[in-house]
Every structure is written in C-alpha cells, then in structure tokens.
C-alpha cells in the first residue's frame, strides 16, 4: 500500500517517530505551563531536569541494579526533590522581581547543571536498554510497531491526561488554578500558598524527570540531551501559548506529528519546520493557538532593571578620565596581547549592541548570536570567496544583518515580555539550523583562513598593530554612535518605552516602529561586531550562531551593568579574560558562567558598572544621599 510514491512503511514509521517526539514535547511543555502559571518563572532548567531524569535511570541501573520500572518511580521523585531544593534556595527570593529574571536565573542554573554533568560524563551519549518486557514489536503489515514506542505514547497520554484531570477537576487543582490567578487572596483565605508553589514546582520538574526516564531507551543519555529538545519546546510553547493546559498537550502532540510528516515529504526542512510554523503563527495569531492575551502573564511587558542616569562629575574629572582612557587604549597593546584586546573589543561591541535593546528599550533578546554569526559568515564569505576588501566585507555583513534584523525584529515585536525572549531564541535557532545545512557555510568546519586583506586597498591588515588601531577606531566610532543614539530624542523615547509603554502609546508615539528601529540598529551593530571578529580571527564558525553565544553576551551585559554605557565593555572584558584563563578547564567555563549568572541575579543585579554608578552618586550629594538612606531603612 503506497501513497504518493512513499512506502507506507516509511510514512507510518515517521508518523510514529513524530508521535513519540510529540509525546515528549507535550509532557515537557505541560510541565513548563504549570510552573509558569503559578510561579511566573520560565523554567529553562526543564531541559536539564529532563536530562537528570534520564541520568538517574542510567545511574540506578549501573550502580544499584534498579531497572527501568524502578527508575520510573524513583527518578521523578529524586528530580522533583531537587526541584524543591532549587525553589527554596533560589526562586523564592526572586518572585518579587520582574519575571525576566526568572528566565535568566534558570538559564544560569542550566549552565551549572549541564556543565557539572558534562564534566563528569563527557559529551558522548550512554546507551540505555529497552526493558525486557517491552522489547520487540508486532508487524502490522503496513508498518512495524515496536512495543516500547507504543508504551511511550500510551504512558505519556495517560500522564498528560491525568495531569489535566488533576488540575481541572479536583479540589487540589482548584487551589492551583485560583492561586495562579490571585495568590495573595488564596493566602488570605488560609491556604499555605508558598508551600503549594514549592510542591507545584517539584511536580512540574518531576514530570520532566519522568519524561527523561522514558526517553532514555530511545535517545541516548547525554548531558546535552536537554538543550536539543528545550528550544523546540520553547517554539511549541510560543505556538500554543502558555495559558492553557490542554493547549500545551494538544500542541505538543500535534507539532510532533507535523515534524514527522515533514520528514517524510521534505526531510531537509524537518529540523526547521517547527520554527517556520512558529513564524506563521506569530504573523497570523500572535497570542498563540490557545493563548488568551488577557490572562497570559507571559505576554506582559517585562524588563530588566537598568541603572539610569550618570554620575555628575566635574568637567575636569571628565577630562582627566578621558585622557587616561585614551592613553590606556593606545599603550594597551604593549601590555596585553593585541589579539586578546581585539577579541575583547569585538565582544564588547557585541555586548553594547545588545545593551541598546535590553538596557535602553527594555527588550530582552535571547538570540542575538544570530546577528553576530550572520555578520561573521557574510563578511567571511565576501572577503574569501568574492575577494572584496575588508571594509566592503564588513559593510555587506552589516547590510545582511540589518535585513535579518528587520525581518526577525518585525516578527519578534509582535510578542512582549517572556514570549519576545523565546521568539528571539527560536529564530536564532532557525538560523543555526540553516547554517548547519547550507553549503556555503561548510558546516562544522566553518569558513576558515579568511584573508585580512588591505583596508580600502591601502592599509595592510596583516600587521597586528595596524589591525589593532583599525579595530580600535571602529570600536570607538560605534561607541560614539551608541552614545549619540542613547542621548537623542529617539533614545529618550526608547527609555520611556522601557519605563512605561502604555504611557508612550498614549502620547501618540508609534511604539512598534521605535522598537523595530532599535532592534535593527542593535542587530546591525551585532553584525558589525561579528564581521569584525571574522576578519580579526580569520574564521567564521557555527559557535558564533549557537544559543550559548546568545547566553554569553547576555551574561556580559548582566555582569557589566545593563543600561549603562560602559557596563557591557567591562562585562565583555571580564568574560573574555575568564575564558582565556579557564580554556584548559573545559566544562568549568560553563559552570562558572552559570554561577556568575546566578550570583548576579540573586545579589548583584546592577552589575559592576551599575554598582559603581550608584555608589559614586551617593557620594555626590551628602544631603540627598542621607535622604535616600532614610527612605531605604524606613
């Protein structure tokens, strides 16, 4: 029995695979939706907890001789308990903050957890056998049906439907739904909501752990297994909307099927089809298939606190500091490796570009690597394959990213808050997958041996010192551009949008247009940074586009100080320096970066430069500072 030249074996085989994937998408997005509903925290650690469930099963088998069936019970409990510990230690203290911080905190925790596992177990996957009772399968004629696959589908439907029943039809679920709507009032009735929150997080995480155990025999047990699936789950969540439990389940299964079908009829698109669907849904129905904008807190405006204003230094102090700074950057190559300095400048520019969007417009882009990497690849290709001079290469890189920024920005701006961040992440992942497959990027090798060439046909960039000063000139030029933009009327409107978007709308400004312009500017500068990096390091490779690069630049921003002019520079220098020193320690870089993330979110939200500004400002005017003291201690 054939259909459109495709054998029924292949068709139903892939549909089965799709349904299996869908089962995991459903279970994971269900957990995410439950956790977000009550805690208003996007649990990016979900992928890591899914991985922990799988590892728990593997470890139980290896060291305790406990098989699959025992693991199905024990692993979710272990992972759930771990989740409860996380909630008590970390999340409890950040509920009062803007919910973007939750996203960043869980991102940091993910880095720590995955880094630790990677350190211990390496990146290769460990196999886990299908339990004896479920091995083998039946031949239905039109397809072969493995027993284990059927079990996974059956079990996940039971789990999903059971959870839905628990939430929608029981008293416990009524408490959960009520607390999701108005936690304070439920407390005022005498319900211990903090404890409920802790247990709910544990439950959501246990669901992830359970999914992990079920996944172990199908996918290999590896420390990175969570990442690969999590970004897809984000796309699923954006498509379905986080407001509805049943919506998450249906979207998860449905999209898994769609992915399976795509693999049959158009295999090259199978990794990207979900992101394409996400784009379509964003254009046609921004609140998601099952979303209701009015009740969806993920759709609310969210922003990271920026330290506003500047220190009031006297003119002489400013002159002195400027002279020192200029002197420093001129003699710096004599003290530090010029290549290190250039790397720092490229990343500092990258961080500054993100700062424009996050710190001044209040839009957290979690996929900025897309522009950095695109700039790198386009410039590298232009200089190497088309033989243009470096400045043309950089220009082309900037133009390409400006175009990309226009399209992606227009799409992303249709959502706000958490969804905006997720959309940017998913769109960046789309670019990553395209780059992985496109011929001109040479896949894993990247574009190597990019010639440095002669700037304007005259200046030889192969001389390191010359290159240093060219990069410095471009860097200072861009810094000046950013400074002018931020202090212009346009910049002021952006800051106003960050503070209170409705008010800016009521004043008659076209807010989406301003946001889009900020996005395009930010993307172009990131592209410039990437193009520059490609020429300096003579390499454009996949890591430039990876989500970890997006996360790293957010970390630089957070560490240095969001919304300050020099914060991103300081943050970039620190992170680049740290990477150079710790390069030999492999996974520890990831763990330490995660640790810095967590530390910054919990105790150091203003960042290095932010803290400096606040402290210097309080020394400015003793009377005002004393008044501030009184207000804060009252």
């Amino acid at each position: 029995m054939d259909f459109l030249d495709i054998s029924s074996q292949v068709l139903f085989g892939q549909l089965l695979v799709g349904l299996i994937n869908g089962a995991f998408y459903a279970m994971l997005s269900l957990g995410l939706a439950i956790i977000f509903g009550l805690l208003v925290v996007v649990n990016m650690t979900h992928g890591a907890q899914y991985m922990m469930g799988a590892f728990c099963a593997w470890l139980l088998l290896r060291y305790a001789g406990i098989g699959y069936w025992g693991a199905l019970v024990i692993a979710p409990i272990v992972v759930g308990l771990f989740g409860i510990v996380l909630e008590r230690l970390f999340f409890r203290h950040i509920y009062k903050l803007d919910h973007l911080y939750g996203l960043l905190l869980t991102f940091g925790l993910t880095l720590i957890i995955e880094g630790l596992f990677r350190n211990e177990f390496g990146t290769a996957g460990q196999p886990y056998d299908i339990p004896a009772a479920l091995q083998g399968g039946t031949n239905l004629g039109f397809m072969f049906l493995p027993n284990y696959r059927i079990w996974v589908i059956f079990a996940s439907v039971v789990v999903c439907f059971g959870t839905w029943l628990l939430i929608e039809r029981t008293k416990l679920g009524a408490y959960l739904r009520a607390a999701t709507e108005n936690a304070t009032l439920v407390r005022a009735f005498g319900v211990n909501v903090p404890r409920m929150i802790m247990l709910t997080y544990g439950f959501g995480v246990a669901l992830a752990g359970l999914a992990g155990v079920m996944a172990a025999p199908i996918y290999q047990v590896s420390p990175m297994m969570g990442n690969n699936i999590m970004i897809v789950v984000f796309a699923v969540v954006v498509i379905g909307g986080m407001g509805s439990i049943m919506g998450s389940i249906l979207t998860g299964f449905g999209l898994g099927l769609v992915e399976g079908l795509t693999k049959v009829f158009y295999p090259e698109a199978s990794t990207t089809v979900l992101f394409v669907i996400m784009i379509i849904v964003l254009m046609v129905r921004p609140s998601g298939l099952f979303g209701r904008m009015s009740t969806d807190r993920a759709a609310l405006n969210a922003s990271i606190a920026s330290v506003s204003g500047a220190v009031n230094w006297s003119k002489t102090t400013k002159m002195a500091l400027s002279t020192v700074a200029i002197g420093a950057v001129i003699i710096a190559p004599a003290v530090f490796y010029p290549v290190f300095l250039m790397k720092a400048m490229c990343f500092a520019l990258f961080a500054c570009s993100l700062n424009l969007l996050v710190g001044y417009a209040g839009l957290l882009s979690f996929g900025h690597a897309a522009y950095f990497g695109t700039g790198a690849y386009i410039a590298a290709h232009a200089v190497k394959e088309w033989g243009v001079t470096p400045e043309i290469g950089i220009l082309l890189g900037v133009l390409a990213t400006a175009l990309l920024g226009t399209v992606f920005g227009w799409l992303a701006i249709r959502r706000q808050g958490i969804y905006f961040a997720m959309v940017t992440l998913a769109l960046a992942q789309l670019i990553y997958f395209i780059a992985l497959q496109a011929p001109f990027t040479h896949g894993e090798d990247g574009i190597q041996s990019v010639p440095r060439g002669h700037l304007f046909g005259l200046i030889d960039l192969n001389d390191t010192m010359t290159l240093y000063f060219v990069v410095l000139a471009i860097f200072l030029g861009c810094l000046f551009l950013i400074w002018r933009t931020v202090n212009s009327p346009f910049g002021n409107i952006l800051k106003a949008i960050r503070e209170s978007e409705p008010r800016v709308v009521s004043l008659g400004y076209n807010v989406p247009r301003h946001k889009l312009l900020a996005f395009i500017l930010s993307a172009s500068l990131a592209g410039l940074a990437g193009s520059l990096k490609a020429i300096v390091f003579q390499l454009a490779a996949l890591p430039d586009l990876h989500w970890s690069m997006s996360g790293e630049v957010v970390l630089m921003l957070l560490l240095g100080g969001v919304g300050t002019l020099f914060g991103p520079i300081v943050g970039a220098v620190v992170i680049v320096a740290m990477q150079s020193y710790l390069a030999e320690f492999g996974s520890w870089v990831m763990i330490i970066q995660g640790g810095i993330f967590v530390l910054c979110i919990m105790t150091f939200r203003r960042g290095i430069v932010g803290e400096l500004i606040v402290r210097l400002r309080s020394q400015d005017k003793p009377a005002a500072a004393a008044a501030q003291q009184v207000l804060h201690t009252a």
């Binding site: 408490y175 108005n182 009032l185 005022a188 005498g190 009252a634």
Partner: protein, 240 residues
C-alpha cells in the same frame, strides 16, 4: 511569637498601625477597636487608607508595624495564611472571584478555619441566584452576584470576624438592599463585622459604630445613633 493581650472582650484591637506600599506611607497610626458581635464601619474618602487598613489586618500589605490583635492574639508579624486561621474572613474590594473556577468551586475554595461554619445549602438559601448558576464560570456573574458569592464563600469557613471592603460599590440600589439584609442577618447570628464604606447612608442602616478615617488615621468616632447629628460635618469630610 503569639502574645495573649489582656481584655479579650475586643475581637479586633488595632493600635498604632502603620503600613507602607513600597515607600508610600499609607497608614500613619490607625487605632480602633471592634467588640464581639459589633458591626463597625470605616468611613472616609477615596485614598484615606480604609482598604489598606483591612489589607494590613490580613497581612497582605508591603510592610506593617504596630499592633493587630485578633481575639486576643497578636498577629502583626504573622503571614496571611496564619491570620486567616485565627478565624477572620476577608472579602476584598474587587471581590476576587476566580475566573478559572466555577461558582461552586469558588464557594468551596476557602478552607474551613473554625467549626460552626454555615453549610453550603444554607448559604445557597440566602443566595438562590448562586445555586442556579453554580456551574458557571466565576467571571460570568453580574456584579451583584459576584458580591453575593464573595460574601457567601467566607460564611462556610467558620470565621466569625468578617472584613468586608466596599460590598456595595457599583451595585444597583435593589441589590444594595439585599446586601444590607444579609449583613443584618449575619449580625443577628453573632458575626463581628468590620465594614469599609464610602456610602454612609448604607453604613448607617447596618452599623453600630463608625470611625472616620483621613490620611491614614482615625479622626473621628461616632455611635450610629449620633450619626444624624453629625450629618453635615460628615458630608463635608466624605464629599469630593
């Protein structure tokens, strides 16, 4: 921890209650008493601090200092869920009906904090509309029905002290009369009620005593039978 304060005649004893929302100092030393079985109102203009007082008693404001003594137990440092379990029921200004729950789920949600609460069937007898619509989603009710539900659901919990924040706000006069009748019934059954109201005519039909609140402080105290003598003064101070 929980101190026993002398003079347990007073169900609710508030002394020098200060409360802040962030850096805004809303309550600046509220002090008043509510005896067992009394119906007492807090009268005042918009922004006087009446709602904040009730929220401060329940422990759901940002920061509070002073003394809140419920049935002799000091609760100024207690979490809201502990305050509720001292036997106090709260009906917020916005009614707080949960949209994702049905009327019946709303009714059954607040846990029982004291024995002797009214049975659901009995509550439905006072609010027949709610029984008819018990499978509807909470937010599909009219304003008056929502208010009935908000009051009805705390009657099941066994709480004998009720905090009602502007129960007649935005309701049609005929519904207001129904609510007044309900409050009188509750008073007859021995409930202690602290009522926040801007409408002092309504307040005078149900209350025993009134406190006038201005700028986060009690600036006047009247028995219900004296309120007519002070009508002009009150109208001036409560008027816009």
């Amino acid at each position: 921890m929980l101190d026993r304060v002398a003079n347990a005649d007073f169900c609710l004893r508030i002394r020098d209650l200060n409360a802040w929302y962030g850096e805004s100092h809303i309550l600046q030393g509220m002090s008043f008493d509510v005896a067992e079985g009394e119906v007492v109102t807090l009268l005042g203009r918009n922004g006087a601090g009446k709602t904040t007082t009730v929220r401060a008693i329940m422990g759901i404001v940002g920061r509070r200092t002073g003394s809140v003594s419920i049935n002799g137990t000091e609760t100024i440092t207690s979490m809201p869920e502990v305050v509720a379990r001292t036997g106090i029921g709260y009906c917020p200004e916005d009614r707080g009906i949960f949209a994702s729950l049905t009327v019946e789920e709303n009714m059954l949600l607040p846990p029982v904090v004291r024995p002797g609460g009214m049975a659901v069937e009995e509550i439905y007898r006072y609010f027949p509309n709610l029984k008819e619509r018990r499978k509807s989603a909470g937010n599909l009710l009219s304003g008056g029905e929502q208010q009935m539900l908000a009051i009805g659901r705390i009657l099941r919990t066994g709480a004998k002290i009720l905090l009602l924040d502007e129960p007649t706000e935005g309701l049609a006069p005929v519904i207001v009369q129904q609510i007044a009748a309900v409050l009188r019934m509750l008073k007859e059954r021995g409930f202690t009620i602290l009522l926040v109201e801007q409408n002092f005519h309504f307040a005078s039909t149900v209350a025993d005593r009134h406190y006038l609140v201005e700028h986060g402080r009690v600036v006047g105290s009247y028995r219900n039978d004296e309120i007519n003598q002070h009508q002009d003064e009150l109208k001036e101070r409560l008027g816009v």
